[in-house]
């Protein structure tokens, strides 16, 4: 039975992904910070799909603990999906130094450290798949969320490099860019329905993407084109737009 490690397993997206893999008969290792949430999520998956589910406590911002955490896993995963992220209020994060740091720590540094440790193991074993949830916000810096966006831009670049390095070693790396997602993180935002993916849609895209060894997955196809256009607007025009 194949095992998947889900980092940040309590997010809506991660829960949908876990459900998808459980239904496909994978065993699961769920890692997250909030213990009170992890327990019920694990029992839910066991009841639904009759697969082994383990839980471990994981804090993305505790970089020093990442190696120990990975080494402590009884079952080393065949695939890992990193879903954790932190989005603060842009008004707040603009001026709050601690919040800027947390945004970058969780979204970029935490991703880079844990995934580097896992990548080394996968490289040595000569197999494995890594998927991480980045964001269309990282495709171009925009005034509405450029701190979060820059951390995600860093993550996308990191994943691109990792993919490049591991492609010859039998390890696949996939970047996921969900676009708008209907989750806890966005429940108070008014989002355009046609551009907003449900956690289940994202889970399907991630599962199929990894099966087909996709490199970069936009969960809703329009987003690839929207971001292509946004990326190509000349800077002298772009800087005057409000996006």
């Amino acid at each position: 039975m194949k095992n998947i490690l889900i980092l940040g397993a309590t997010s809506d997206m991660a829960q949908a992904i876990a459900k998808k893999y459980a239904e496909q008969g994978w065993s699961l290792t769920l890692a997250a910070r909030q213990e009170a949430l992890l327990g019920p999520i694990a029992s839910d998956l066991k009841v639904r799909a009759d697969v082994p589910v383990q839980t471990v406590l994981f804090d993305a911002a505790d970089f020093a603990g990442h190696r120990k955490l990975y080494e402590s896993l009884e079952t080393k995963p065949d695939a890992v999906i990193a879903c954790f992220g932190y989005m603060s209020d842009q008004e707040k994060v603009r001026s709050d130094v601690e919040d800027i740091r947390r945004t970058i720590d969780v979204n970029f540094t935490g991703m880079a450290t844990i995934l580097s440790i896992i990548a080394a193991d996968f490289e040595q074993r000569g197999r494995g798949a890594i998927a991480a949830v980045s964001s269309v916000a990282g495709d171009r810096g925009r005034q509405s969320n450029y701190i979060y966006g820059s951390a995600k831009a860093g993550l996308s670049a990191f994943l691109g490099g990792l993919r490049n390095r591991l492609a010859k070693k039998g390890v696949h790396v996939m970047t996921v860019k969900p676009g708008f997602a209907r989750t806890k993180m966005t429940e108070n935002l008014e989002l355009p329905a046609a551009l907003t993916a449900s956690p289940e849609q994202i889970a399907d895209a991630v599962f199929k993407g990894l099966e087909k060894k996709k490199n970069v997955v936009y969960t809703l196809w329009m987003w690839r084109w929207i971001m292509l256009i946004i990326r190509h607007i000349p800077e002298f025009i772009f800087k005057k737009m409000s996006m």
Binding site: T10, A36, L37, P40, I41, S43, D44, V47, E187
Partner: protein, 445 residues
């Protein structure tokens, strides 16, 4: 603040709406002063889950344990019945009781103590609850069952969310061999025929009738009786069904994409619908094998069907009257409804079995449910109907209600006063759980 309403889109209110993922988060929300009410999937019809401050339970929706030896399931209260069916029908299990929609939460099913087509055999949903955890006003969690903290259990089943917030519940699923129902439909040309039909269907697990509430005179009460049993494997005839007896193909999901203009439903269009529906079943008895979705949940196949009633919204008037008063009472009430010409096309008749719960709606007798677009004429009609229902010793279903007055409630729910005192006492003297409905009918201040 956001706009929110229950299924009838009447009333629509502005409320502060928050969800929770853990009991701890819920507790913190209860620490804030001010009245609150739990809101599940918004499928009660009126204002039973509406209030200035609303606690959404839908996120609190995990399965906690399942014992395949007994069928006992324990889950958090925000789980939808549809989620239970999706997971457990393929494993050979079904709900012990289900109402006509599967899009309700377990918490809502307990708080409204919902009933289904098998009420005369299996009672209401609450009667299947073996144990549950409820968070009280002060954030403490009480485990209750028919034997443990029985007083608390009694006021929580059918208690409309006023005793506390249901966190999780255990109940036993029913073993099934197939995902199909062996159904018989019988056409009844008037009220006497349909009532005879019900009485002759006592030994069927499921029975319900669709009734044409626009038909008058000799045709008053003409209906289609539907009765069913879970099909055994040997009942299945089609090869595709026999190959995968517990699998159900996803049917066509339709939707009502826009809110209809108010004039779309008029006496003519409704009469046409009722005529067509009645006549599509030929006289006599017909046998079919149908999947459980088409038998139990025909309307769930149409997303947002409530939108056909337009912006004014609608209410479902559902009452029960005791069996002794049944024939005469139903005839008088139905006559009054047909005279008014206000009823619409979804009218459902059912014969309940015995029930002696504290606050629940069912009683041994006939229940009729029918939809009315909101209008001042309809409101006047309801007043008249209320008086008739109360005279016959019946009552209205709180889960559907948005307009009953306190006097009517007091008259028809014999335990009203005791309930009022109990929910306060069991919450140490004061409770912050209250809904627009509980205030309107005078359960809470």
């Amino acid at each position: 603040m956001r706009k929110i309403s229950d299924w009838g889109n009447y009333p629509v209110i502005e409320a502060e709406v928050n969800g929770f993922d853990t009991a701890e988060q819920l507790k913190r929300q209860l620490e804030q002063p001010g009245e609150v009410i739990a809101f599940g999937n918004g499928r009660s019809y009126g204002d039973a889950s509406l209030q200035d401050r609303i606690l959404l339970t839908r996120r609190f929706s995990k399965f906690l344990s399942f014992d395949p030896a007994t069928g006992e399931l324990c889950c958090q209260a925000g789980v939808l019945l549809s989620e239970i069916l999706d997971v457990f029908v393929p494993k050979g299990w079904f709900l012990p009781v289900t109402p006509g929609t599967k899009l309700i939460t377990v918490g809502g099913a307990i708080a409204s103590d919902v009933h289904g087509k098998n009420h005369h055999v299996d009672g209401s949903f609450g009667q299947h609850i073996r144990s549950m955890d409820v968070m009280r006003n002060d954030g403490s969690v009480i485990t209750c069952s028919p034997t443990e903290n029985a007083e608390f259990f009694k006021v929580t089943v059918g208690g409309m969310g006023l005793s506390g917030i249901i966190l999780n519940a255990s109940f036993r699923l029913r073993k099934i061999e197939t995902a199909y129902i062996r159904e018989e439909t019988v056409r009844a040309s008037n009220l006497d025929e349909i009532m005879d039909g019900f009485e002759a269907s006592d030994d069927w697990t499921y029975s319900v009738a669709w009734i044409d509430c626009l038909a008058k005179g000799d045709a008053l009460g003409r209906s289609i009786l539907m009765r069913g049993e879970h099909a055994a494997e040997t009942d299945l005839v089609e090869q595709a069904h026999r190959a995968k007896p517990l699998a159900v193909k996803k049917g066509l999901q339709l939707g009502v994409p826009v809110v209809f203009p108010n004039f779309a439903l008029n006496p003519l269009s409704m009469k046409a619908f009722n005529f067509a529906y009645y006549n599509k079943t030929r006289p006599g008895t017909h046998k079919h094998i149908v999947d459980y979705n088409s038998f139990f949940y025909p309307l769930d196949a149409v997303d947002n069907w409530n939108r056909i009633y337009g912006r004014r919204g609608f209410t479902q008037y559902q009452f029960v009257i005791p069996k002794e008063a049944g024939r005469e009472g139903m005839r008088k009430i139905l006559t009054r409804i047909t005279e008014s010409g206000l009823g619409s096309f979804l009218a459902v008749l059912k014969l309940f079995g015995e029930q002696d719960s504290f606050m629940s709606f069912p009683m041994a007798g006939y229940t009729l449910a029918l939809d009315f677009p909101i209008s001042s004429k309809a409101m006047e009609l309801f007043k008249e109907l209320d008086a008739m229902v109360a005279d016959y010793g019946g009552r209205l279903y709180l889960a559907k209600d948005s307009r009953m007055d306190a006097a009517m409630f007091e008259k028809t729910y014999p335990n009203a006063n005791e309930f009022r005192q109990a929910i306060a006492m069991l919450n140490e003297g004061s409770t912050q759980f209250a809904s627009l409905q509980s205030k309107r009918i005078g359960i809470t201040g």
